[in-house]
């Protein structure tokens, strides 16, 4: 086949530069049994420079997964347990008076790391959530009038426990929108869980090796930007997003009363970014509709507002996305 030179070169380059993805997968699989989707989404977030909201029950290897990823990338990892009495300074850092030096010194908070696990983010009040989300957006923190850039790469994995709603401060829609992906993880299969038992009861718990440097991730991010996205794919993404806003225009009139607000332009941007990254992870230099559909649920599920009618009919945002994918024509 006589492919156009640019795409062929790009494809070859991406095939070479994305080789580490397989290695990262191998290292992660040494420690994490199952949860392939979680591992894939962590890589998506890492390479797309986006943050991840994770919803899943306790004990599903959320902390272990991000810790392992940090180890693999040879990066710094912090786990912050959000509690009702947590203050922004506990997260970002504060000025502490040093008697020895007779001046205020900056004590940086746990947010100064490459990978942050914000555990149960909805347990803390809005001021702490806002502090984290601002840092996520700006990628810098101001302490005592001095601005400090955060480490790069900077990936936040925030978790929400779906079963306990008492005494929580649910994230407002505007702040949830700042997360690139919302990943819902489920229990492992029987075979996977048997493997988990064996690994935990063994003499030595497996550990991952550092195979990358943070600089490699930053370089890969630049390569991801070069992944080719055809106009047809862009139009497909727009159709999917617009269908969440104006379902009637896509022969989905029955969804109109179920949706209070559709996905924002940030959703279109993130859908395109994530599709490019997914193509990169699959070691391709161009995006195909499969890439868009593969990440569509994770990008859109937290960006669609459900009405009272939808809740009364037990309809979830996943059902709405499925209906849209079944109707919007693939290019």
């Amino acid at each position: 086949m006589n492919e156009s030179v640019n795409i062929k070169e790009l494809n070859d380059r991406i095939r070479q530069e994305s080789a580490f993805v397989d290695l990262v997968g191998i290292e992660m699989n040494k420690v994490i049994v199952g949860q392939k989707h979680l591992v894939e989404c962590l890589l998506l977030g890492l390479l797309s420079d986006g943050h991840i909201l994770l919803e899943g029950l306790p004990g599903l290897a959320k902390t272990l997964a991000i810790n392992t990823l940090a180890t693999t990338v040879d990066a710094r990892f912090s786990r912050i347990q959000f509690t009702p009495d947590l203050l922004p300074a506990d997260l970002l850092g504060t000025m502490i008076y040093s008697q020895k030096e007779e001046q205020f010194l900056v004590k940086k908070g746990p947010i100064f790391a490459n990978f942050i696990l914000a555990d149960e983010i909805n347990r803390s009040p809005a001021k702490v959530q806002s502090a984290l989300l601002e840092a996520m957006q700006e990628k810098q923190v101001t302490i005592g009038g001095q601005t400090y850039p955060l480490d790069r790469p900077f990936l936040v994995l925030a978790t929400q426990n779906p079963i306990e709603q008492e005494g929580t401060y649910p994230l407002p829609e505007a702040q949830v929108d700042r997360f690139m992906l919302k990943v819902v993880i489920d229990y492992p299969s029987k075979a996977e869980e048997q493997q988990i038992i064996r690994e935990n009861l063994g003499q030595v718990f497996p550990s991952a090796s550092a195979i990358l440097k943070p600089a490699d991730i930053m370089k890969a991010r630049e390569t991801v930007k070069d992944v080719y996205m055809d106009e047809k794919i862009e139009r497909y993404i727009l159709d999917l997003v617009f269908a969440t806003r104006y379902p009637g225009e896509y022969k989905l009139d029955r969804l109109q009363p179920m949706i209070t607000y559709g996905a924002s332009p940030r959703a279109s941007i993130n859908l395109a970014k994530a599709a490019k990254t997914y193509a990169f992870i699959k070691r391709r230099g161009y995006v195909i509709p499969e890439d868009v559909r593969a990440i569509c649920y994770d990008v859109l599920r937290h960006r669609i507002g459900l009405s009272y009618e939808a809740e009364a009919e037990n309809m979830t945002s996943v059902d709405i996305i499925t209906s849209i994918l079944n109707v919007v024509e693939v290019p």
């Binding site: 492919e3 055809d230 022969k251 161009y286 994918l325």
Partner: protein, 338 residues
């Protein structure tokens, strides 16, 4: 003094005479006697000059202690002789007390020439009779319920009700069906199957696409977009797989789920879709023989999977011959290029 008294007496008697001449009032029952509980009308008739104003009484629910009012009808006015006006009112009355009852005079206030006066009806008698008992006879048993003969007038409301029930059931059934179709995001009325089988459409479109020579004119992307759309539309019509809303891998999975197991054709289809994806989404520029092979694969897939409808056999055979000729032409073309 005596003269004044005589003059006053004369004046009063003159006024009373004038009232009697200006107003005539009568009241009568339909009958002088009724059975107890029967209803009877009381007719009140009043004739008056035009300049006389008369007020009818406001009826309560009884006329006397023994005569009850069942219904009061409105006052009706008609012209009478000598320029008078006749006012009539009927009152339906009944009585549940036997005996002779007296309806006392009913008074009607009136105004003549600015002077107030009153006219009244004469007392009327009403005999209310009871059922005579023959005590010489034995006690009779309660009579059974009469059996009324059934007529058309009795049947048609039931027929109408039954018809309406059937109609309502049909409407409810249709409503449930429509709701289920709507919730499944399917059209409420199934689209009538196109008269033309999908393979006829597909083969015609392939012929047209081949004739347009798109890739020969550097419109490879359009060529593969149209080619894959023709095949996807055919798959949708032939296998009922929603191919237009599916990705290439999903279409192949859908075919397998639909029971299609020809591995050779699946491989050809996979090759076609992969190449089409590369051209559509990755600016790929296939070689001419790859373009021809894609067309050939499309023809072969349609030709080997078509289902001919009996009524359309003749037409389909003609098309099959055309397709064979087309396919042979492409193969020959490829061989010549080689």
């Amino acid at each position: 003094m005596i003269r004044y008294f005589i003059a006053l007496l004369f004046g009063v008697s003159t006024f009373a005479g004038a009232a009697a001449q200006s107003v005539r009032l009568s009241a009568r029952f339909d009958s002088a006697a009724i059975m107890i509980g029967d209803q009877i009308r009381l007719h009140i008739e009043l004739e008056r000059q035009k300049d006389v104003r008369v007020q009818f009484p406001a009826w309560a629910d009884t006329l006397t202690r023994n005569i009850e009012i069942v219904e009061t009808y409105p006052v009706d006015s008609t012209p009478a002789a000598n320029g008078m006006i006749r006012l009539k009112q009927d009152i339906l009355v009944t009585s549940f007390d036997s005996g002779r009852h007296v309806l006392p005079p009913i008074r009607f206030p009136l105004v003549i020439d600015g002077h107030a006066d009153t006219v009244a009806t004469r007392p009327i008698y009403l005999d209310v009779l009871t059922v005579p008992l023959d005590t010489t006879q034995n006690f009779a048993d309660i009579k059974p319920v009469y059996k009324v003969p059934v007529g058309w007038a009795d049947i048609w409301p039931w027929l109408l009700g039954f018809g309406l029930l059937l109609l309502a059931s049909a409407l409810i059934g249709f409503g449930i069906y429509a709701l289920i179709r709507w919730r499944n995001n399917k059209p409420i009325f199934r689209a009538s199957r196109p008269a033309e089988p999908p393979h006829i459409t597909a083969l015609r479109e392939l012929d047209r696409l081949r004739g347009e020579k798109l890739w020969q004119n550097n419109r490879t992307k359009d060529y593969y977009t149209r080619l894959s759309d023709v095949v996807r539309t055919y798959i949708e019509g032939r296998f009922d797989v929603m191919a237009m809303e599916m990705t290439s891998d999903e279409i192949l999975d859908g075919l397998r789920n639909a029971g299609f197991e020809d591995n050779n054709l699946v491989d050809r289809l996979r090759r076609l879709f992969s190449l089409a994806d590369l051209v559509k989404f990755a600016k790929a520029g296939p070689l001419p023989d790859e373009n021809e092979t894609s067309m050939l694969d499309s023809y072969l897939f349609v030709n080997n999977t078509k289902v001919e409808i009996a009524d359309d056999r003749e037409n389909a055979e003609e098309t099959a011959v055309d397709v064979k000729a087309s396919t042979d032409g492409i193969i020959t073309g490829i061989k010549n290029q080689e």
